[in-house]
């Protein structure tokens, strides 16, 4: 009788943790499959504007970003908007070179689908954006997306 009691006690009434790694691994694989690596670290402030007619960009691998906004370190660098592509600040004149770089790594059949997404801070003035657009037109890079956040007005 005493022995039986002991055996019952030794079987502790806790849930087996053996399945815990399985659950966590499932989560892990989900995130690995769905997520895209954060490729750039923003050095400028980008508060996107709101819009009601936004659409999702279909092919994420064929989208390249141009960030425009006031630098975080505006006390040193001034409040004028800067252009950031990948990890560095660029002048407007350097954009065609970046576009060529992007084009060179994409297969020819995907070239017409290449989209440039302008991620611009909403307080920026249009001047620099107009310059970027003119440069894009000169390089025949016509697919453009004005990044905006969905809002329900």
């Amino acid at each position: 009788m005493n022995k039986m009691k002991r055996t019952l006690q030794s079987k502790e009434n806790s849930i087996s943790t053996a399945s815990l790694p399985d659950v966590v691994f499932m989560l892990l694989f989900f995130f690995m499959v769905t997520a895209v690596m954060r490729e750039t670290e923003l050095k400028i402030r980008v508060n996107l504007p709101d819009a009601t007619e936004v659409k999702k960009l279909e092919n994420k691998s064929l989208v390249r970003h141009i960030f425009i906004g006031k630098p975080h370190t505006y006390k040193q660098q001034g409040v004028l908007p800067l252009i950031q592509i990948d990890d560095s600040f660029l002048d407007v004149e350097d954009i065609p070179e970046s576009i060529e770089n992007w084009r060179s790594v994409i297969t020819e059949s995907d070239l017409p689908k290449l989209t440039i997404s302008l991620k611009v801070d909403k307080e920026t003035q249009m001047g620099i954006i107009t310059d970027v657009k003119q440069i894009m037109r000169k390089t025949q890079m016509l697919k453009i997306n004005y990044a905006a956040l969905q809002s329900n007005r």
């Binding site: 815990l20 504007p49 920026t124 249009m126 997306n145 004005y146 905006a148 956040l149």
Partner: protein, 215 residues
């Protein structure tokens, strides 16, 4: 005979070992039972959690979304001339004030104005000329084929305002297409087949020229 012999030897050996080293064997057996041959799954969970946290931090979940537009190509040949009635002139000045066809307008009115301009429902003479076209699913339809909305901004216009105006213009087209899809098929535009979408896009072609800067 030989088998029997070896068996005997074996038994003998076991017996002697049992008698000689009785306590040692018992000790071994006890250890065997208490030693768990599986490693703990708890540490596995820790490793998986670490990996999970790494991926959470190193990745972005945000979806790319925005107003998708196409820029007009750089003009190489002579610019195409438009009739005055075919153009809707939208100007935004440096103070973010909106002017449509020479009149100061509030942004809330822009969508209705643009819709009237694009569709020209009453076939008025100051709105774009309508051309008869034969379109699949619809037959002969009168379309304002040559209309264009000319959007111009100043270098000092804020991007926020510019996007708001773009949004209203794109919204005007989207609303017209939606209305047509509802009246023709009783279905939302986005759920139509590609072929039907294309037919509607011929009736209301999106023509927003965001071309040459002012100064």
């Amino acid at each position: 005979m030989i088998m029997e012999f070896t068996h005997q030897v074996h038994l003998e050996y076991e017996c002697s070992a049992h008698q000689l080293n009785k306590t040692w064997l018992i000790n071994l057996l006890v250890m065997r039972r208490s030693l768990n041959t599986e490693f703990s799954m708890g540490s596995m969970a820790d490793i998986a959690f670490l990996l999970l946290i790494f991926f959470l931090v190193a990745t972005t979940m945000e979806v790319d979304q925005g107003i998708i537009r196409k820029l007009p190509p750089m003009l190489v040949s002579d610019p195409v001339t438009f009739h005055e009635r075919d153009i809707l002139e939208v100007l935004i000045n440096r103070d973010n004030k909106l002017m449509v066809e020479g009149e100061e307008t509030d942004i809330a009115e822009l969508r209705a104005l643009a819709k009237e301009f694009i569709a020209n429902p009453a076939n008025e003479s100051h709105l774009p000329e309508k051309v008869s076209l034969h379109i699949d699913h619809f037959g002969d339809v009168k379309v304002t084929k040559k209309h264009v909305i000319s959007l111009r901004s100043d270098r000092g216009t804020s991007y926020d305002m510019y996007i708001a105006v773009q949004n209203e213009l794109v919204g005007a087209y989207n609303e017209l297409r939606e209305e047509l899809a509802q009246s023709r098929w009783n279905l939302p535009f986005l759920s139509l087949s590609e072929e039907r979408k294309a037919a509607i896009a011929v009736i209301y072609p999106m023509k927003i020229s965001e071309a040459e800067p002012n100064n």
